[in-house]
Symmetry: D2
Subunit: 283 residues, 4 copies
């Protein structure tokens, strides 16, 4: 199905729903998914609506001109996305390949609605895997002296390939503020703990030392503050005293994979709306 | 807040959302919750919308007359409920009191939006508990010979107390078709298994014998077919070989309580919509 | 069944299992539960063994004298507990009664192997509830000026009633180091977050502000450092953007109840062994 | 570490633990994991003990002769396995490759302690994947007329490769009783439902039709009765009315992968003991 998806956030006001519904009905939209949310603590209205373009009588190239008056009237932040335009996703990886293999396999099986023009890594290790799935693999070495230069190379690659979304699939380098600032809400990371617990380094070791009874993983948009961006998805798994740190790492990998994949999938389906450093998931 | 809640199901058609939104906007409704769903396999549109009555310019006594034309146009099944009209809930119980104490305590703490005019039981055991929470307790003995007579007494009590909802809180008698037929989608049961597994008698014993690794509980509307009505909520908990049947019963009780309470709460908040022997939960 | 339970921790050494098994066999013990664990990172051996006293040929009053030579040989920390000696548990509560009602109901239904000689509170609110379950209720007012005096009164009450275990069932006062120091591994608290996330005050508000996708509850032994003692049990529940802070509080209550009850139950069954600020649960 | 693992089941009798512990101590075993369980309803004793062979003074070739007298005395069923002898695992697959890729990736990353000499399929689809991971891929076509012949070929391949364990990774053919009878407790299947619910065909469609609120996956040993063998592992995931059958299939895949992998891993680590058509997992 060929669809368009509108994501809206604005101050909550009477007549909002009617204005949007009437606009879509005027052009004969066949709505296939609609979900909305009011955050009363911030008096905010948030909405996702997706419609079939088959019978839609407004040409999408004229959509902005037609919709902007309504957006202005209600002070909307809004975006519209077309299913026909597949987002272009780059995957960053270091040596751990469990998230990479998961993303590539899901992509191949049609689960992720995107193109993957390249994988970028600071190591050679995952080349064979990426190339097996037909994705070009670029190594950009990073060390403590060449960080700025390395990021310049990475950003050149991203621009050359028209990348819309960057997924850090256990990429072990911290990106600079300049880098992440250039891709607001377009860099998704997987952190191997239940944030905000155990942010920063070695979360499994610290979870083991603290004696927690569950471990977690968190997928979030990357912001300037480490491990502090809007959380997209989290999950946990029960552990016991029988699990040493190595076993936590193994159990955690299964979480990391599935939590990151859910987040990526929702982002690609335009189901994530960010406000106040948190997310609404229209799933 | 004084609100009205509209629950709608009808064939999915263009213009539905606009018609409803315009109707509400015409009378200056301040929408506080709106959620809708399309079941594409049945071409069905399902919606819940709740609005603050403070600024609503249509008197609710005139609501049906005003809304029916729209309902007719779209072949809607619909109901409207007012938060000012508290549903009246009867609890049926036998000897196990863990669900009863949970419901009574939640009610006392303001979590359940209803009145509880009476508890009906086939045993004396739970009288002190009900009366501690200020709820009259009626014993209607049931045996294999007096079933029809007992149900007649029960129904008399229910009518005398204007009951809208019956909750079977581990009530160990099977109600007749006549009884449940008189209260369609108004009798909520808790079954102590993950339905459809282990429907019928002694589910914990059978779960133990089968060697399952998780046990469950299921809350559903009661229909003519035993343990087959629309499921409102389910949950599970992990067990191990260390758990004997007695331990399954104890772990299961914690599930039964919370699963039944969620179902009751959603029903009372008009968040449950039934179609095709299943439910949409607008939670 | 009349049983004895031995809890042991010591440096891991060859011959340990054989020494313990032989000791028990010598006196004709019928073992009903045995579980052991090696923590390789600390070279520690931890064990729980429970046996039926019916055929046991050693009088339990002579147990220490008979077992101490083995304990000395292997540098054991050890305790032995008799099922015939029911622990005496005090519950501390403030105004929230959801954990209190859960503990009292479980106790009444035979799920908690203990006596509850008293409930201590800084408010009158829960008196009727405690007294309905036949438990004397003592109010000890606490304010910023009388803390030491209040704790003196509380400790007097605890001693007068021979209390072995103190459960803080959402008791909203912080106990002094003197107090908790006098009851090492004998004060169990429920904290309404997934520790170490959101330790301290207002965890649900902070969870809402951070936008987490799951909330949790943690039961732990109280130590000198706030919310830092050995964790006995934790659990989480999924939330969504539809849940405001009030809803988090309600969902959290269900977690608090069940997490605290599990911890208390395991403690009373001598299934918890503490080392290195964490716990082994022999469940 | 070079270890031996003993799995024992026998009638529960006094002196069992002592006899086993003494035997191991006599030969200077350094125990690294020991776990036991009493099933009181069947008066059964079940045990797993694993020890480091570094200091063990009994040559493992003489183990049976040395241990058999104890086994005879207590009527034991027992097996001993050496970590130095890697089990040989065959994977059967049809067209769905999500479980296959998961097993192959875990194997490559060292998570599964086994060799994988071959993959057998009734289709060509997964050849590239298997070969990427360096595993020979054999196609044995199966149709309604050649079943016996096909199984004969499969069994020839299994024997030629010395296979100890067969994993049915969404293999869509039902094996004959002759086949499964030849590999008792050596064929592990993944069924895409929470058994015993929705055994047989099309479980996701039936789960959707029944309106369940959670879907599951079950890994079990294959026996003569379809979907009725001893359950090794199960897990579930929450679904909502928003999930259509296609979405159930996708969510289910994530369960199938992880549930099957856990079962395989436990089997390979000799952590599974079967009795009375159920399993004890010494995890």
């Amino acid at each position: 199905m060929n669809t368009a998806t509108l994501l809206i956030s604005c101050p909550d006001r009477k007549g909002l729903s009617a204005a949007i519904a009437n606009f879509l009905y005027t052009y004969n939209a066949n709505i296939v998914h609609s979900d909305q949310h009011q955050d009363n603590s911030e008096n905010l209205f948030l909405m996702r609506v997706e419609w079939d373009l088959a019978d839609f009588t407004l040409d999408m190239s004229a959509f902005t001109a037609a919709f902007q008056p309504i957006a202005d009237r209600f002070d909307m932040h809004w975006t519209v996305a077309l299913s026909a335009q597949r987002p272009r996703m780059a995957i960053f990886v270091s040596k751990y390949d469990h998230c990479l293999v998961d993303l590539l396999h899901r992509h191949q099986s049609g689960e992720l609605h995107c193109d993957i023009p390249l994988v970028i890594s600071n190591h050679e290790d995952c080349r064979a895997l990426a190339e097996f799935y037909g994705v070009p693999y670029h190594v950009v070495e990073v060390n403590k002296d060449n960080k700025a230069e390395a990021e310049a190379k990475q950003r050149e690659l991203l621009q050359a390939h028209g990348v819309d979304l960057i997924v850090l699939a256990r990429y072990m380098q911290v990106l600079s503020h300049e880098f992440t600032g250039a891709y607001p809400q377009k860099v998704i990371n997987i952190h191997h703990s239940f944030l905000p617990a155990f942010d920063g380094a070695k979360p499994y070791h610290r979870a083991f030392a603290r004696g927690v009874k569950l471990i977690g993983a968190t997928s979030h948009y990357v912001t300037e503050v480490l491990d502090d961006g809007p959380i997209i998805e989290q999950d946990v798994i029960r552990i016991s005293h029988r699990d040493d740190v190595d076993e936590l790492v193994l159990k955690g990998r299964d979480l990391e994979r599935v939590v990151l994949s859910r987040a990526v999938k929702w982002h690609l389906a335009h189901r994530v709306l960010v406000y106040s450093n948190k997310t609404v998931i229209f799933a």
